[in-house]
């Protein structure tokens, strides 16, 4: 066995209690870090998954991101025109079927046309502002998981009645409408229809479940008071993480504003960055506290072993060798702490996952947890680094011991 390892291993092995406490400190830090990471990552994943599943990955609306350039601006590069009243355009996407066909040629996913109308739902003295989307149930499976999110009926129920409507379960609770109820939809343009509730859906995103309703495209067009209107194309991608770049290409191809789910929820997603920063700060703090334990044990060992250090140096061991012994001891403590911490972290995560909770914001009655080897590697890596850093200073000090001073003191 290597001399440095042999001495380091013997030192930590002969101090079972002290080593045990130091290892326990690191293990606790690693364990709780893993548990926290699992919880935060789990809740983030759960939320993101819900967002991705609920929304179309890309929504192409009949708006333009920037107003079209004026003829003078096109002609003269230096011309800049401000304050013009925007041109009143006929709503809707021009030639939606042709646009869809062009996009389908390259789009890695499905696309579906829809009509989006803002309306007020009136029922039993409740007036609730709602986004009503006219859809084609046969194409809907290509662009959303609405079919799987239906409760009490299938999406095909929309064909069952004239002006059939499916509403979010929270919306139904809010207005007290059950299946078969006839509700009134009224738009700001004055359109008014009576629709029959044929089903509910539950996405898990409160905003959606509280203020969204689906009707057939035809019904949506009646509400919008425009025959043949398609004012939204909804796209679902095979890989939702590519939605930003695909949206940019769609916008470039069609000229219509294309918003990816990431852009739509940019503010929300940016809070995850802050959440992660907080998580890493807390994890770092836990491991920092644990590293104090390592510093303490290495300092104690070097103090107790001052005479042995002096004797090793008098025999001819180099400073580097002596320093390596104590740094290695810190590394052994860090490694043992990390391994025990892995087990502790896993058990803590399992225990946390077994706790039953009731939370209106999540569907599951258990906390969402993410089990990722990255959490283990990260916590283990930080534990090792902090242990080595904590052990280095006392090791360096020990290696610089002047043997004569110690030998004189001992004789």
């Amino acid at each position: 066995m290597n001399l440095v390892f042999d001495i380091a291993w013997t030192h930590v092995r002969y101090r079972v209690r002290q080593t045990g406490f130091a290892v326990a400190g690191v293990a606790t830090g690693v364990g709780f870090s893993i548990m926290m990471a699992a919880l935060m990552q789990g809740s983030q994943n759960d939320f993101t998954k819900r967002l991705v599943n609920t929304l179309a990955h890309i929504t192409v609306s009949d708006e333009r991101r920037n107003p079209p350039a004026q003829p003078a601006e096109k002609m003269f590069a230096t011309a800049e025109i401000h304050g013009l009243t925007p041109e009143a355009r006929r709503p809707g996407i021009k030639n939606p079927l042709a646009t869809m066909a062009a996009l389908e040629a390259w789009l890695p996913g499905g696309i579906g046309p829809s009509v989006k109308v803002q309306a007020i739902i009136r029922y039993a003295n409740h007036d609730v502002s709602t986004t009503v989307t006219g859809i084609d149930p046969r194409r809907e499976a290509k662009v959303s998981e609405l079919a799987q999110q239906m409760r009490g009926a299938t999406l095909n129920a929309l064909y069952r009645a004239t002006n059939a409507i499916v509403i979010g379960d929270r919306l139904s609770e809010k207005i007290g409408a059950r299946i078969g109820a006839n509700i009134t939809l009224q738009t700001s343009q004055g359109a008014r229809i009576t629709a029959q509730v044929v089903g509910f859906f539950h996405t898990g995103v409160r905003q959606q479940d509280e203020s969204t309703a689906y009707v057939l495209t035809k019904t949506g067009q009646i509400l919008a008071q425009q025959t043949g209107l398609i004012n939204e194309l909804r796209i679902r991608l095979a890989d939702p993480l590519k939605s930003r770049e695909v949206a940019a290409r769609v916008e470039n191809d069609t000229g219509y504003k294309s918003v990816s789910w990431e852009e739509a929820y940019e503010d929300l997603l940016s809070t995850f960055v802050i959440r992660n920063l907080i998580m890493y700060a807390v994890v770092g703090a836990i491991l920092l506290v644990a590293s104090f334990g390592t510093y303490n044990i290495i300092s104690t060992i070097t103090h107790e072993k001052a005479r042995d250090i002096a004797i090793m140096k008098s025999l001819g061991l180099r400073e580097f060798t002596v320093r390596s012994i104590f740094v290695l001891e810190a590394l052994i403590i860090g490694l043992a702490g990390a391994l025990v911490g892995f087990l502790l972290g896993y058990l803590l995560s399992r225990a946390l996952g077994a706790v039953k909770i009731t939370n209106p914001f999540i569907d599951s009655d258990h906390l969402p947890l993410a089990y990722s080897y990255v959490h283990y590697l990260l916590a283990g890596f930080v534990a090792l680094i902090s242990s080595v850093v904590a052990g280095y200073q006392p090791a360096r000090k020990a290696a610089r011991v002047h043997p004569v001073e110690i030998i004189r003191g001992a004789t």
Binding site: L3, I7, R307, I311, G316, A410
Partner: protein
Amino acid sequence: MSERAAKAASAAPLIEARGITRILPGIVPTTLVQGIDLTIRTNEFVAITGPSGSGKSSLLYLLGLLDLPTSGEVLIHGRATARMDEEERALTRLTMLGFVFQFHFLLPEFAVLDNVMLPMRALGRLSAEEMRARAHDLLGSLGLGDHMNKRPDQLSGGQRQRVAVARAMANEPPVILADEPTGSLDSKASEQVFEVLRDLVEEHGKTVVAVTHDLGLAERMDRHLELLDGRIIGDEFHHAPVRAGA
């Protein structure tokens, strides 16, 4: 003068001290040794005596490169050591010098065999089998063959000191520096350790420099240096070294 002692007196210098002075800095600087010139030759058996605080151990540490002189220089085999860095001094100690202290200073968690192998492992020139065989031989020759796997706290004081001698001999250095090697032992154990040191000189051709308070032992060595207040006040060659029982 014995034939060996006569040879030693004419041998090449092994350790030379040229005007070495060691002053401990502080509010009141303390002079440990002052202007010492000394030549120690191959196969000499040298005693350093003097009252407490006379600078015996300090001189030994300077000769053994454990300490650096404030002025003057120490040469080992004719090579100046003043400009050696820490690495070179460590290597010189490892290969040229063996130390035995008043208290055995063995590593308490390691077995006797491991303690003896420590300098060999630090030097790393032998295979594990060769190191083990050499440690076995050394311990066997010092009568510790049955104690190789014991820890230091399971041995008597004399046995521990003999283990320390074996450790000092591990890398076969030409010089053994002993600081009060019998200081903490009873008379019987002292005699055993002295015999071991004398054997190193007579049988193995080593040079032994030993600090001692025991004038009886000093009289039995080849050469007797006497220190007072950091200066050599006596340097006596015994023409007919007194051997035990003689």
